[in-house]
Amino acid sequence: MALRELNFTFTPDEPRPFPVGWSHRGVVGSGDMEVMFEQRDLGGDVQIKVCTPVVGFDEVWERVLDRFVRESQVSDAVIEINDNNATPVVVSMRMRQAMEEARKEAE
């Protein structure tokens, strides 16, 4: 079965535009993932694309990513994920680390 691509768009309540050009984090080990954030003017939205071999967890992805956006309020970014069976806790941790790295870099 081929790799699958999932696409989501979220609109945070109090958008905080992504502060740097791009930020990358993670290694696609087993049970892990990499994530790339790229600045893009999306009028306060954030777009997320997930590339994954996993089937049957589309709703879980949506909920995990929705919570990340709610907690970080990140906006105006295209986020791409290469996943290899990362669990929700790993996804949340990697996303948060990449976000914090970017915000630290912007300071």
Binding site: A2, L3, V27, V28, G29, E34, M36, C51, N82, N84
Partner: protein
Amino acid sequence: MSDWKELEAKSFYGASARERARGIVDEGTFTELAGPADRMSSPHLPVLGEAVEWDDGCVTGVGLIGKHPVFVISQEGRFIGGAVGEVHGAKMVGAFVLARQMYDRIKEEHPDELAERLPAVVISFETGGVRLHEANAGLLAHAEVMDQIQETKGKFPVISLIGSKVGCFGGMGFVAAATDVIVMSDLGRLGLTGPEVIEQEMGKDEFDSADRSLVYRTTGGKHKYIMRDANYLVEDTLGDFHDQLAAIMEAPYDEIVQCRRIGSEALVDEQLALAELSVEMAPKDARDVWAYFGNEDVEQIPEMTTAEFLAVAQRR
């Protein structure tokens, strides 16, 4: 502690390919080429439903050691065991091509300073060799890298660093052997057939791959240092590998290439004599070989720190 100091103190064994690439050249000099933002991932894995990585498990780029431009190839063992596929291999070749171009340019623009500006290719291996999902392309990549190494002969050094989790096995074991210098830590492992494959082919009585102690005695940095397969043995930090590279690059090219294992009739004779010796003495364990070359208390060798070992090690 500054970020740089923290990076230099970091374990080479536990470092990611990207951290290694940054940490083995001088502070702040590394520029990644064909990095994740360029999204050069494998075209073959998606069809097979296998996860991809934007750098295809191979970090490439350039940095400086002193005035030497150092082209870095750093393999990531966590992505499919660091196995070499088409893009991964092409990036390795690309680093060699850029190094050769740099060599030609320096020769032309700074003919008097060629020695102190001499480029190098440094490969931080972490791989089992060919990626089975794209085996033909992977094999071809091995051949191309071998070709590239030949192209560097007489020009600039190619240096192997081996000290990561996966070690350096399979076809890439050959590639490492063909480079000019090999630097290892005692956690590094170098070989052709991986331990699991030996066990699978020859049986558990011949080689128990779960016996990590045995695996290290047979393929690990200390053994390779005694056998002179590894030229230098260093402590397991990025800083120690970095320092060793800097020391190597200070030497003139002709001296550096004295480290080679192959490439002359004399070296071929030497290797053949070793093969003969192994038949003759039929060692049951690497410890027998260590003792043969004059090491005392061979039981204790695995337990020694790198410094303790270097102080007493007798090499062949």
